[in-house]
Symmetry: C2
Subunit: 239 residues, 2 copies
């Protein structure tokens, strides 16, 4: 790839050519190779879907989807709290603090009779991948994404569940707007917007497990964690 | 702009050079000129922030921010329902069906003592802009965006509040994943992901009111409305 982000703009490029991933695979090495082949360069952000991370980390379990009780036990085991139930659907808070459907357990693109659980520590997975890439001479941020629903709005969006080297939420409070007034609320969830942008090229069925986002504001790079995207329950009006 | 989206990828480019916008201005004409100068081409999606639309449509009212009662009356007047109150913050459902803080009323980048309300019909605003651009020989989709918070997650994201020429939610249900199973839930909120991607280049204080998104899947173009992004209250577990 020789894609150059236009002045002030960004480009998002799919990373293809990753072999099928199984438990114990050196995912960081495989991703590094595919992403560098796709042109990954210093200052980029590499976005990776949760599913390949879960597969490589062995977060795959057998589940007979018809066994409703087993399914419920599995979801509850991955959750610290159930917020809502309706039929088969549970909205729960995972051990990471994420609120999502069915604890993020995923049946798509999985062998029959198996499901993928969320990585135990997606921030750590992101850091590991970032470190491997640095070892190969490429200094980038890494975002691991999953597909979440949300209240009030139809349709799913990809969001960040693991972050390394990127400030997940960029606090522009105190920045002055063009009229000179300070902005009251401008904490942008940059990592989530990056995740959504990457999803536009990764699709759901196209076997593209990663994307390169180029042209992000250099000021956004730095220590970051997906935990910064979790609203403390005490500040949350809907928990 | 000569930016070409890389194969399978997208580019997002800021649109600059828009004069200050006031009530009654021919925003569609001004935006068309600036966007075409920035390289807008057939098959692109033009993303425009709500604020310039509200200004041009005269959706600006005087408000003394210190007058708490007046502020509350204004928010309630723009709302059909109040979901939550905490201190100054009201989470309401607007007449459009959007659930957001303070009915989307916006004080940033506004002259002192004034605030911007949401456009009365942002889909219509998007259609009008799309029609003007078609009249100038450029066939694009248009998305009008605003910055919304969300439960459970820190930080704001831009989302679509007006859509023309783009399917706001793309239903991939029935599409088969790589293992041949049909995907259970894959309605992606494409217009919201496009809005978030555009925000990455528009920023909050950079006076960039629009962006060009190039390289979206041609299958996503077609009749669309931001109403498709509103989850019917009867299906909503958090309303």
């Amino acid at each position: 790839m020789t894609a150059v982000a236009p002045p002030g703009g960004i480009t998002v490029v799919p990373v293809r050519g990753l072999p099928e991933v199984s438990a114990g695979d050196d995912l960081a090495g495989m991703l590094a190779e595919a992403a560098i082949a796709a042109g990954l360069a210093d200052g980029d952000c590499l976005v990776v879907t949760q599913k390949v991370v879960s597969k490589a980390e062995g977060r795959v379990v057998a589940l007979d989807e018809a066994d409703v009780a087993a399914r419920r036990r599995l979801i509850e085991g991955e959750s610290v709290r159930v917020l809502r139930r309706r039929g088969d659907l549970l909205i729960t808070e995972t051990s990471h603090g994420f609120v999502c459907a069915n604890a993020g357990i995923d049946v798509s693109n999985m062998p029959d009779g198996t499901v993928a659980l969320l990585p135990l520590d997606p921030d750590r997975s992101a850091r590991r991948l970032r470190d491997v890439l640095r070892g190969r001479g490429v200094d980038v941020a890494v975002v691991i994404t999953d597909t979440f629903g949300r209240p009030w709005r139809q349709g799913l969006c990809d969001v960040a569940i693991g972050v390394a080297g990127l400030r997940a939420v960029v606090d522009l409070r105190g920045t002055h707007d063009t009229s000179g007034r300070s902005l009251a609320v401008t904490e942008m969830a940059v990592a989530d917007e990056v995740a959504g942008a990457a999803e536009l090229v990764m699709g759901k069925a196209a076997s593209v497990p990663a994307a390169i986002v180029r042209g992000l504001d250099p000021a956004w790079f730095g220590p970051g964690s997906a935990r910064d995207l979790v609203r403390p329950p005490s500040e949350d009006l809907f928990r």
